[in-house]
Symmetry: C2
Subunit: 287 residues, 2 copies
């Protein structure tokens, strides 16, 4: 049995109160808190690597981190994870793990990433949005849909990415942008979402998109959609993780509490109106 191994962990976090995922001195970050939790249990580890980064305010259901653990038998992994879970703040939950070999890199060995963006459905034309969405699919230069928009891209960096899937669909009251790519540039999802919304509003065209793919970025100069509605939904690897069912329950509870908190204001926003000097229900929308 090995006493040095690479541990992969699958992590949910609520990005609201973090300065992004990546470690930064003196700022509360996801990596910073996870590393602190592992340190707190006195574990001997090194080389903490992420599958990627998320910006300030962006959430994750399945962020993946890797660390090299020393002086602990592989049979103790579950116990170690259990202790770390107790050290973590409520807005970070480890819900899966796996031991991988030494050549493994969580960034380069990921098959693809999936992001989900959510917005209100009111007045949004999903059919029109889907027209533009399918034009994003495939291998393109996404420089104009990234934070590189107006900067010189270093030669050793490629801004080509392959979008494998981009579906937009609706529930009763929200629109979901569901997008899968080999990997993403910084701000890429949020800029694609904004561009799509502007296309639906008639302010961007398919011609503009093709121009942007040619590296002429002015037409793609959009305000990135709000990070608070974006989730790193999954990072896919060619194997599965061990799921901690108690963590899954914890996550559900976390979401339920967060969602309940503002139910009343959602209700007001959607169902109450003012006629004369009284608040009234919009009767037509109630069953």
């Amino acid at each position: 049995m090995s006493t040095v191994f690479n541990l992969l962990i699958k992590v949910f976090y609520d990005g609201t109160l973090f300065h992004g995922s990546q470690r930064q001195p003196r700022l509360r970050t996801v990596e910073g808190e996870v590393i602190k939790a592992f340190r707190n249990i006195g574990l001997n580890f090194e080389k903490f690597v992420a599958s990627g980064r998320t910006d300030k305010g962006v959430h994750a259901l399945s962020q993946v981190f890797m660390l090299t653990v020393r002086d602990v038998g592989e049979e103790k992994v579950e116990e170690v994870i259990g202790k770390v879970r107790e050290e973590l703040p409520v807005d970070i939950i480890i819900w899966g793990y796996r031991i991988v070999n030494f050549e493994f890199n969580p960034r380069f060995n990921a098959i693809c990433r999936r992001y989900v963006y959510v917005r209100y459905a009111r007045g949004f034309n999903v059919h029109k949005a889907s027209e533009i969405a399918k034009r994003f699919i495939g291998k393109h230069d996404f420089k104009c849909f990234s934070s590189y928009l107006y900067s010189q891209v270093p030669e050793f960096i490629s801004t080509e990415r392959t979008i494998l899937g981009f579906n937009i669909f609706k529930t009763d009251d929200i629109v979901i942008f569901d997008i899968v790519a080999d990997s993403f540039l910084r701000q890429m999802v949020r800029r694609i979402v904004s561009f799509t919304e502007l296309y639906v509003a008639g302010k961007k065209s398919i011609k503009d998109l093709n121009t942007a793919f040619k590296g002429i970025c002015e037409v793609a100069d959009v305000k990135p959609a709000a990070p608070k509605n974006l989730i790193l939904f999954d990072v896919t690897y060619p194997f599965s993780f061990k799921v901690i069912s108690e963590s899954v329950r914890e996550m559900k509870e976390y979401w339920m509490k967060k969602s309940t908190k503002h139910m009343l204001f959602k209700f007001l926003y959607e169902h109450v109106d003012f006629k004369y000097d009284k608040p009234v229900f919009k009767q037509f929308s109630l069953t």
Copy 2:
């Protein structure tokens, strides 16, 4: 034109960050903030009276306050209100006003009050709830449905109240308790809501309700429903108010922002599940 008059104001507030509506030294309360705003504009006023109180965490769409204004012509009222609105914090919005005569009392001259309570609909049987709701209607002793539950009620206080209407209905995802009475005892709505929920769950009976109406309170000993989902919806007077349409817009915007904030977590809670080691959409619920 009079230079002393009684001014009634209609006020929306988000109760989240207040220690209730009633003035209290050193605590942030709705009355405290409203009084401060009127003081800040240098207005000469006295006798600040509310239509009633709301507990910590409870919201209002139409709370009504009265103050006696001196040394300002009635023709200046709109201007005065405009200045006060600018002094108020974002979670209090004056959206209506009216001048009334000197005998007027906002508490005793109110015809009735309407409260609305909101909760998630999942698994809630509205038909069963309506069975018990109609039993609450009419004139009853509501001591057991108030904070007087286990205390001696002073002789000069009556705990009889008349419930004029109690409707429970459902939208796609939430249940609304809509209750109107001449006036309410402290915690009364929240205790009625809890009792109703326990009836739906099969834990309270109509017999228990009748026992409680006789003043035997053990059977009505319930945990009051969470204040954060309760709104003082309206206070009805035998006249109308002048509505400030800009304030109505401000309120709508306030609710929209609050509601948007947690849309993502609502989405997660309702539409995402874990199968094996991946988050997946509950496809059946998406259109």
